[in-house]
């Protein structure tokens, strides 16, 4: 495992908006098959990091490598074809399109219609609630259903790396638990996952490893269980 290069390798990633430095040179790795989380307080730079990885922000070319290839600053539409999919903060579903149309949009880059249909069935197995609402417009779904749709839509591109930005945002604890169960199931099916979360406890319980971010820098990284036991983490993020 160690001999092989990680699926995603971030080195010295810096993001700035005009003069404001939001991410100040962070390192981060995700190996193939892993489920990794990135936790931190509001404004720590988690979304900026994820957006940079997904190709939505301009960054240095060598600061992000995917399957050893430098991809920093490559446009998002190209990265989707390489196997990266982002579930954006606040879900970003196409609210006036139906559930079916949203999922079809997720498979935009693909032309293998038979396989697409198979993946669609798989997604409806993961999210039976979506199956019942196929013709409903996405904007009329509940928050939890929209999150499911956003994840399903991202999976329709058959990603190797799934990036999720705060899937728990604004959802009831029970729904959040269900969403994380599904993400774990997706990871178990072979998709590598990098998830940004405010709900540190849940994320650490589900993930293999975790990174802690504070005002633009990574202050800690370890296995999830070690972080759950870490005093600093317990105080700052687990409210103990």
């Amino acid at each position: 495992m160690n001999a092989r290069a990680p699926l995603l390798q971030v080195t010295g990633l810096a993001v700035s908006y005009g003069g404001i430095k939001a991410v100040k040179g962070i390192d981060l790795e995700v190996a193939s098959g892993e489920m990794v989380c990135l936790i931190g307080a509001n404004g720590a730079g988690k979304t900026s990091t994820l957006k940079a990885i997904a190709g939505l922000l301009p960054v240095a070319r060598d600061s992000i490598r995917f399957e050893s290839e430098p991809i920093g600053g490559r446009p998002a539409f190209e990265l989707v074809r390489r196997g990266l999919a982002l579930v954006p903060e606040g879900r970003g579903v196409f609210s006036q399109l139906t559930v079916d149309e949203n999922l079809a949009m997720g498979a935009y880059i693909r032309r293998d219609h038979a396989e697409i249909r198979r993946d669609l069935d798989n997604i409806f197995d993961l999210f039976p609630r979506l199956k019942e609402r196929r013709q409903q417009t996405a904007g009329t779904l509940s928050g939890g259903e929209q999150q499911m749709l956003a994840i399903g839509r991202a999976l329709m591109s058959r990603p190797r790396l799934l990036l999720l930005d705060e899937p728990s945002m604004g959802l009831a604890p029970l729904v959040v638990a269900r969403i994380f169960e599904i993400i774990t199931e997706v990871a178990r099916q072979g998709v590598t996952v990098l998830v940004v979360e405010q709900n540190a406890r849940l994320a650490l319980q589900r993930c293999d490893r975790g990174y802690v971010m504070e005002s633009g820098v990574v202050t800690l990284h370890d296995t999830a269980s070690a972080l759950l036991d870490n005093d600093q983490v317990r105080k700052a993020y687990l409210g103990e």
Partner: protein
């Protein structure tokens, strides 16, 4: 069994009937007066324009207030290459594609710097672009006379294929095919082609990409859609259609000047798209036909009506026209905001917006 057969055939019977009606229409109109054939031709031309603008506004959701500029470009390309202005008389089948191409290039020139703009900002830039083109056409008579300035270009060639001249009357199959009637059939043919292109576009990957961009541009990019290219494509395709319509206009009228390409014309075409139903091909055509015919009907009824009632004309037909136009738009926005024949998605969009606070 009989019944089932009939209902399966019914759409075909309908299509045949409509085709027959469209085929005999110009002769029926010529019976009332050749003016009406000309009016119908202009209406068809506006339907072409509206379908072109519909690609930009209806499909891709980019508000373009300078669309008439592409029509102008197509018209001037034709006029310059087929008139005594430069003594050039190239055949139409060579110039029309060229006009489409030049308009397409202008479309990309407008599109490229405005890609990051949305909504109001885009509207203002496109409006400015339309005016710039018109002002150029108005002033390109000095120091070298290219466009002949405000006087415009006259004696533009009509379409000609061998001995068949679209500008001349001719007896065929015992019927008198006048110039306007020939143009009518040509326009109908072009319109059908453009309708088919629009329909195919709408249900293609490109059409879906436009739909995604209209809904949420960042999410569209995350789906793997090259939003930059798709937006440029919308501008380019809309502009090409405008260029083709402009070329036909030029040859049909035989005379063009910058006055035909003022801002009001852009707004008129946009009104056709909005009134008919943005994104719905049939709605857009309906909008174009209504906004072309109703004013003419008014022109031909209001004057005589006033004369017979009051002995003289009290209110100018133009005033009544604008009044009714304004009233129609207000009523539309109140009762059918998505247009007369709204597209499925637009209907949903507006339905939701009116429920939400």
């Amino acid at each position: 069994m009989m019944k089932l057969d009939l209902s399966a055939r019914l759409p075909w019977i309908g299509i045949v009937l409509v085709a027959l009606a469209l085929a005999v229409l110009p002769f029926a109109l010529a019976g009332i007066g050749t003016t009406w054939v000309r009016i119908t031709n202009l209406a068809l031309l506006f339907a072409l324009l509206a379908l072109g603008l519909n690609i930009v506004v209806g499909f891709a959701g980019l508000l373009d207030l300078g669309y008439i500029a592409f029509y102008a470009v197509g018209a001037y390309v034709y006029a310059l290459l087929a008139s005594p202005q430069f003594g050039l008389h190239l055949p139409f089948w060579a110039i029309i594609p060229l006009g489409a191409l030049v308009a397409c290039i202008f479309g990309v020139l407008l599109g490229a710097p405005t890609l990051k703009l949305r909504g109001d900002y885009l509207a203002i830039v496109t409006l400015g672009f339309g005016e710039i083109i018109r002002i150029f056409l108005n002033n390109l008579s000095q120091p070298v006379n290219i466009t002949n300035g405000p006087q415009g270009i006259s004696r533009i060639d009509s379409f000609r294929l061998g001995d068949f001249d679209f500008g001349k009357s001719e007896m065929l199959f015992g019927l008198n095919f006048s110039g306007p009637i020939k143009y009518y059939y040509l326009l109908l043919l072009v319109l059908i082609v453009i309708i088919v292109v629009n329909m195919r576009l709408q249900h293609s990957r490109i059409g879906r990409a436009w739909e995604a961009i209209r809904e949420d541009e960042v999410a569209a990019r995350a789906m793997g859609i090259d939003t930059t290219r798709m937006k440029l494509l919308a501008f380019a395709m809309g502009a090409s259609f405008g260029g083709i319509a402009g070329g036909i206009f030029s040859s049909m009228q035989g005379f063009i000047s910058p006055e035909s390409f003022v801002l009001v014309e852009s707004i008129m075409v946009l009104a056709m798209v909005v009134l008919g139903g943005m994104g719905n091909i049939w709605g857009v055509i309906l909008g174009a036909l209504l906004l072309s015919f109703v004013p003419e009907l008014l022109r031909h009824t209001i004057e005589p009506l006033q004369r017979s009632l009051f002995g003289r004309s009290i209110v100018e037909p133009e005033v009544v026209r604008m009044l009714l136009f304004g009233l129609a738009l207000v009523l539309m926005m109140l009762y059918r905001p998505a247009g007369l024949l709204p597209s499925a998605v637009r209907r949903r969009e507006l339905a939701r917006k009116s429920v939400e606070p």
